[in-house]
Symmetry: C2
Subunit: 214 residues, 2 copies
DNA sequence: ATATAAACAGACTAGTTGGTTTGTCAAATA
DNA sequence: TATTTGACAAACCAACTAGTCTGTTTATAT
């Protein structure tokens, strides 16, 4: 008797597809590879998804969007100091990644670069991810301004977009650099920039050990 | 009698291929499309290139590498103030681009995100491009420090890499944003950061009209 | 003028790729 | 219990795709 669990099957497909897309891109991802990795057949896959595109869309909407919520939006919403929290998230993400993971970069950025110019459905979905992402950063910065820890002469929305862009740029450039030191050099500059967003009050509140490495 | 010009034929192939790759990526580029666009045949194309990969490699080595030399390395080498020159190049590039060009992004970044994790040949070539690019920025910053226009407490190499990464990040994020204002918002923050790299002397030397828009 | 090699033209092919179709089996439903 | 439907299995297919092969035309060297 074969155990049937449609939800698990669907998740297995998406997980395998994301892993393939992460490395090879959406166009480079092959449906047959997903089948081999999951042990499923065409019948199963095309029962859950109308076509390859639908798999890609579901990954952005469900997995990637959810990931950003957990890793960024949640922590930033709870944070009293957005700059410190931003740095902490970056350092956590960095710590959990080895060389081959650095080479693969950020799935959101990868898909944006590859698909947004040629598939409006992807573009719309990825734009939505960016909006919630930057929205959370902007809101946390605004709260930081109101709390007096962040400089009040900055534009939260603009800085939030710039922060996210710089982060994606760093991860993106690091993809083609053999030495991991390049990544850390860029991260160091980003950290300096982030700290420059703090007000005098915010600076004095920051733990010493967060500043000492600069 | 058909006029034969092998050099021109080769260039035509590379130009058409770059245009296709710029929009669809290397994997999304189709050899047949190149043939249709150029009016050439398989025989001609495979006389000049051993395979599709060789076309991609040639584009990075010859066209993209050359482009960076002309647009960035040259101007920066001649520049007395790297910060001002950097801003000027950015603004020139921005001014020459419409919405659909913004959507396509930077070919160097696109290829990096797509190909560097799955093709070592691409990665090596793109890394070389980044090295000359960041090298030129770093050298100009160092000269700026020596001339007293750039702050002497910054690390030229690290800042150069960060600047390039941020630039690529901005261009990359802008690819999936409908409103062009997002691009300009991010660019404004980048400009602020660039200006923050100037020393007191450098700041006083900067034209008023370059600073007024901030 | 002739030989040789470079620069093509274009039909052909082998392997791939996303997707379809038909059928089976288990579970919910009536 | 009978029946319908959801969840798969797997053979099949048409379109595509990079690359090859043979032949032809043009340029170049002698």
């Amino acid at each position: 008797m074969v155990v049937r669990n449609p939800d698990e099957t669907r998740t297995k497909i998406l997980d395998a597809a994301l892993d393939e897309i992460h490395l090879r891109g959406f166009q480079g991802m092959r449906v047959d590879h997903i089948l081999k990795r999951t042990g499923l057949t065409k019948g199963a896959l095309y029962h859950h998804f109308t076509n390859k595109q639908a798999i890609g869309y579901a990954i952005v909407d469900e997995i990637l969007g959810q990931d950003i919520m957990e890793r960024w939006v949640g922590p930033l919403e709870k944070s009293a100091n957005p700059v410190v929290t931003f740095i902490e998230i970056c350092e956590n993400e960095r710590a959990g990644k080895n060389a081959s993971q650095i080479e693969k970069g950020c799935p959101v950025n990868n898909l944006t670069q590859e698909m947004s110019p040629i598939d409006e459905g992807f573009r719309e979905r990825l734009e939505k991810v960016y909006q919630t992402w930057t929205g959370a950063i902007a809101e946390s910065l605004e709260r930081g301004i109101n709390n007096g820890v962040v400089r009040d002469d900055i534009h939260p929305e603009k800085v939030a977009k710039f922060l996210l862009a710089s982060l994606q740029g760093i991860i993106g450039v690091a993809k083609c650099c053999k030495e991991e030191s390049v990544l850390d050099d860029m991260a160091e500059c980003m950290r300096d920039y982030l700290i420059s967003l703090l007000s005098q009050e915010g600076l004095s509140q920051v733990d010493l050990d967060i500043l000492k490495a600069s």
